[in-house]
Each structure stands twice: as C-alpha cells, then as structure tokens.
Symmetry: C2
Subunit: 225 residues, 2 copies
C-alpha cells in the first residue's frame, strides 16, 4: 500500500469509530463539542470560564488533548466536573479511538455535555471526526485576520467560529471586519461569536450558544423517539 491508501484506511477506520460515538451520544442525549484552534488561542482559558459559570449540578465533562503534560486537566479539574487528559505522545490530533478509550469508565447517561479540547493545531484535527455534534474553531485576535484563508479546511469543517482575546483587539490592531469577511469567504453563513475569557465579554452569549445547541440535540433525540 502506498501513503495515500494507508491514509485513507486510517481515516475510514476513524470514521467508523466516530459514527459509533455519534450514535452513542445521540442515544444518551449528550451534546459533544470539539474545540479546535492554533496552540495558544485560548481553548483552555475558554473552558475555565465555561466551567466556572456552569451550575454545579450541570452534567458536563471534559476531555482535553495535548502531546505532553497533564497541565490542562489540572487547570480544569478545580471546577469540580469530570476532566481527563488525553496525551497523544507525538500525534498531532485527537482521533475517535482515543475518545472512545477515555470514555470507557464514564457512563454517558450521566452527561448532558461533553467538551473535547483538541490538540492545538489548525491543520490535522480537521481530518479526524470525533463524532461531535459541533466543531468550534477558535481564532484569537493576536493570530491575525488572514488565518481562515490560510487554513481553510479547518474553518470550513467547523460549525461556529469564536474570536477570542477580544480584550487584546485594540493592542494588536485586529481588523474584525476583515476577519469576519475571511471566515465568511471560507464558510459562507458561519455563525461567529466574539469573547474575552479574561474580561468575560461575550461569555454569556457563548454559554447561550452551547445551551441552544444542547436543546437542539435533545429536541432531535425526542423527535427521533
């Protein structure tokens, strides 16, 4: 087999496992979201502010991916919700098999929301379906407005774009209109949110977005019986 054939085989195997995960989430009315972005765009900071604002009775859990370290799981564990670190070694993305393995001792019937934080990488995670309902791509104001055009696949495969580090927009002369235009050029009609995990700006709207997606999941499950 050549390289392309092997890549196809790996992606096909991943797709089968991702579809199984999607079906399990559906059966248990769990909304799964997959956060993707460059390293340092603020995925973990957004998760901290998300968990902090959630009611303690919320049935939410987090799987957080990195090549190395348990740092993110440690940062997130203090909010009292179930958190597991997935360390990939050298692998540049999470895959459905890693998710499945880390869910083995988490009964999905105890969850309403599963948030997966992918490895920081604007390229490779776009190829690996994790069975999620929504892929959320973060773009920080400090990265530059051109990233959607340069990394179109990940923006095109996401359901919503979240502009992070809004508090730094002025300092870095972030051109929001250009960023929005570039996102829309790659994925016309994509919903775009803007927030700052530091100041809290936009966090309420982000949590509303998550809640509306969760209600959609539940309504879909009810409609399907």
């Amino acid at each position: 087999m050549n390289r392309i054939t092997v890549e196809k085989k790996v992606l096909n195997e991943n797709q089968i496992l991702a579809d199984e995960l999607r079906e399990r989430y559906r059966q248990h009315d769990v909304l799964c979201v997959n956060l993707v972005s460059s390293p340092g765009s603020g995925k973990t900071a957004l998760l901290e502010r998300t968990l902090e604002r959630m009611d303690k009775s919320s049935r939410v859990a987090v799987l957080t991916g990195d090549l190395q370290t348990e740092n993110d799981a440690k940062r997130l564990a203090k909010f009292g919700f179930p958190v597991k670190q997935i360390t990939t070694g050298g692998t540049c993305h999470l895959d459905a098999k890693m998710i499945g393995r880390h869910l083995e001792d988490w009964p999905l019937e105890d969850l309403d929301l599963l948030i997966v934080e992918n490895v920081g990488n604007l390229v490779c995670p776009s190829s690996y379906d994790l069975g999620e309902d929504s892929k959320i791509v973060l773009l920080s104001t400090t990265e530059g407005e051109d990233k959607p055009l340069k990394y179109p696949t990940i923006f095109n495969s996401a359901d919503v774009a979240v502009i992070t580090k809004a508090d730094l927009a002025a300092a870095v002369e972030f051109d929001e209109a250009a960023a929005v235009r570039n996102i829309q050029a790659v994925r016309p009609g994509m919903e775009i949110l803007k927030l700052s995990a530091k100041t809290g700006e936009g966090m309420a709207e982000y949590l509303e977005f998550l809640e509306s997606r969760r209600l959609q999941t539940r309504a879909g499950a009810a409609a399907n019986g």
Copy 2:
C-alpha cells in the same frame, strides 16, 4: 505495509532529499534557516523586518509555506529580494521535495542566506528535515509560557528559540522566566532571543545571530574546502 511502515518510508525518503539539500547548501556556502511556529506567532512579520533591515546587496532569498494563499509571498516581495510561495494544499508541513522543486531555477551560487518559513504548526514540521543549518522556533508572548512543555519535539529539534511579540508581554502578563525555564527544561542550553517585530526591540540581536550563523557556515565551508 501498515501505517508506521509507510510513515518511516516517507520520512526516510525525505531524509535522503534533505541530506542532498544540505550538501548543496554546504557546497555553495549558503546558510539555510527554517522558521517554525504556531500559526500567527509572527514568522512573516519577523521576515518583513529582517528583509527591511538587510542591505539591498544582500544575497538573501525566501521560501514561504502555507496551505493556501500567496499572501505571505506578496507581503515579502516588496523588499526586492527573491521570494517564492510554496502552497502545500492540505499538507501540514513543508518537506525537502517541495524545497528542492522550488529551488530549481534559483542558482544557489547567487545566495548567502535562504530563509524558509514553514507552515504554521507546532507539531508536524518537527518530523521533516529540510536540510537547514538551523531551525528557529518562534514562541509569541500571547501563546502562553507552557507551549514548550506541551510541544516538546519541535522545541527539542530547534537550535534557537525566539520569543516574539515582546511589545504585548505586559498586556498578556507573559511570565518570561517561566517561558525560559520551560524552554530550557525541554532543550537545556538552547539560545533564546526576544524581540518585537512591531517596535523593533531585539531585531538588531536577531540579525547579529543570523550573521554569526552565516559566518560559521562560511568558516565551516572554508575548513572543509
């Protein structure tokens, strides 16, 4: 063949081509540096400030990599030095074959310095030798001090770390001592520079670093020649 076997074969083929490139650079006294970082760490901004400050008679050329767009080549072409864009399509890194193909009509005897700007990705470029003399890894103050620990392979395979966006350090409460400690934990003794392409802070030291590497290359060639 399984996936690992194919990956090994691809990497072996890349290594052969990278070694050929390295030998060609050596024969022509060309210093080749490979800039790697996350998307948006400021590789292109650093290149702009580098080319801007170079004497117009400098024998420097740039190959700049991205998945899509010719934006970076356009940004860099205005300084009057030879620049080519390498668009990789979906590929998450540059490889030696892409470099060789884009050098075909550039006589190396006309160059002293070849700067390669890799695809923005803190993972995959670490596996692909491009025949460079030095790999320079950028870490922007806005990305967080923990990135060397989370992405150790790329920091470990680099020769020098450049902390960028120094002008934003205060705004993001960048802990420089922690960043240095984390870099040194992954690669003890690694040289670390700090600069701001916006204010020009540290640019003189960076250009001195490039010049000293170039003189080393020349001295090495003279000793071997």
